[in-house]
Amino acid sequence: MTFLKNNRWVWLLPVLFLYSCSAGGQYWRVRVEMPRPVSFELERFQEMVVTDFLVVKERTDFDLNKETTEYFAFEFGKNITIPVSRAAVAPEGAETFEQEAFWKGIPTENEDAIVFTGTIDYKSEVRKALVDREKRQFEDPFPDSTALEERKFFTLFFDLYLIDARTGEILYQRNFKETRNYKNPNQTAYFAYFDLIQSVKDKLFQAFLGEELLQERYLINK
C-alpha cells in the first residue's frame, strides 16, 4: 500500500491501457480513387486495326470517313499500349459486319488483332421556334415580345464494332446517337462534328480504359 501511496501515477496505467485499446474512431470515412469497371479489355490483343467506316450518306463539306478514322487512330494510339494501325478496308454494307470471312482477310502485323470499324451518319438541321422574350431590365425600352429564334442541330449516329481479326467474330458492338444544338447561326458542321465525336470518344474510353473515380467509403475499426 505504501508503494501505491508513494507512486499514485500507477493508477493512471489501467486507464491508459483501456484508452490505448479503444483509441481511434470506430468508422473512418475515406476518399478512394476507385477504378471504373472496364467493359472490354482491349489490351489483351496485340494490335488494333482501324478500318474505314461505312458512311450512310457522304457529305459535301468534309470527308466523314477520313476524319473519323484519323481521329480514332490518333486517340487510341495515345491512350492504349498496343500498336494501332490503319487498314484501307471499307465495309460494303451493314451485312458486312456479320461476314466473318471478310474480317479474317484483313491484313494485320500481329496474329492476335482487334478490328475497330463501324457505321457513321451525320445530320444537321435548322429548327425555328417562336420564343417569348422577357423584358430584361427596368430601363429596357422594349416591351415583352415574342421573337423567332433558330438553332442549328447536329446529330451523329455511330455504330461501333470490335471484331476479332483471327476469327472474324464480333466481340463488342455499341450504338451512339449524339445530338447538340448551337445558337450560333454560323456554326459549321465540321466544328460541330468534333464536339460530337469527342463525346462518343469519352463514353467509349470510359468503357475501355476504366478511368478512376473518386468515391467515399467507410472503413470500420472495431
Binding site: M1, F3, S20, V30, V32, R217, Y218, I220
Partner: protein, 119 residues
Amino acid sequence: MKNKSIIGALALIPILLVITQCSSSLPADQMRFGVEAAKLDLWDEAIFRWKKVLQNDPNSASAHNNLAVAYEKKSLWEEAKTEYDLALKIRPDDKHINANYQQFIKRYEARKDDIPKKQ
C-alpha cells in the same frame, strides 16, 4: 515486504500491456493496422491484415466490409461483392456497410449493363 512486491508486480502488468499496445496479435490491432495501411494507400498490406482478422474471427462484419472496399480498389469486383454480401449477412442494419454497398452495387450493376450484347 511480500505485499510490496505483489503490488509492484501487479502494477507492471498494465505497463507491459501499454508498451505492447494490447499485443499486436489481437484482432482489433490488426484491424486498426489495416485501416492505417489503407489510409496510406497500402491496400495489399490492408488486405493481409484484414484477412488475419478473419482467420481469428470469420464473423467479423467489419473485416468483411473493409476487405470488400480493398477489393473494389483493386478491381476485384466479384470478390468485393462476396465480401459485402457476407458483411451484410452478419450485420444487415449497419448503416456504414449499407452505404458502401449502395455505392458499390451501382457501379457493379452499371458495369454489367455496360457490357454491350453481341448482335
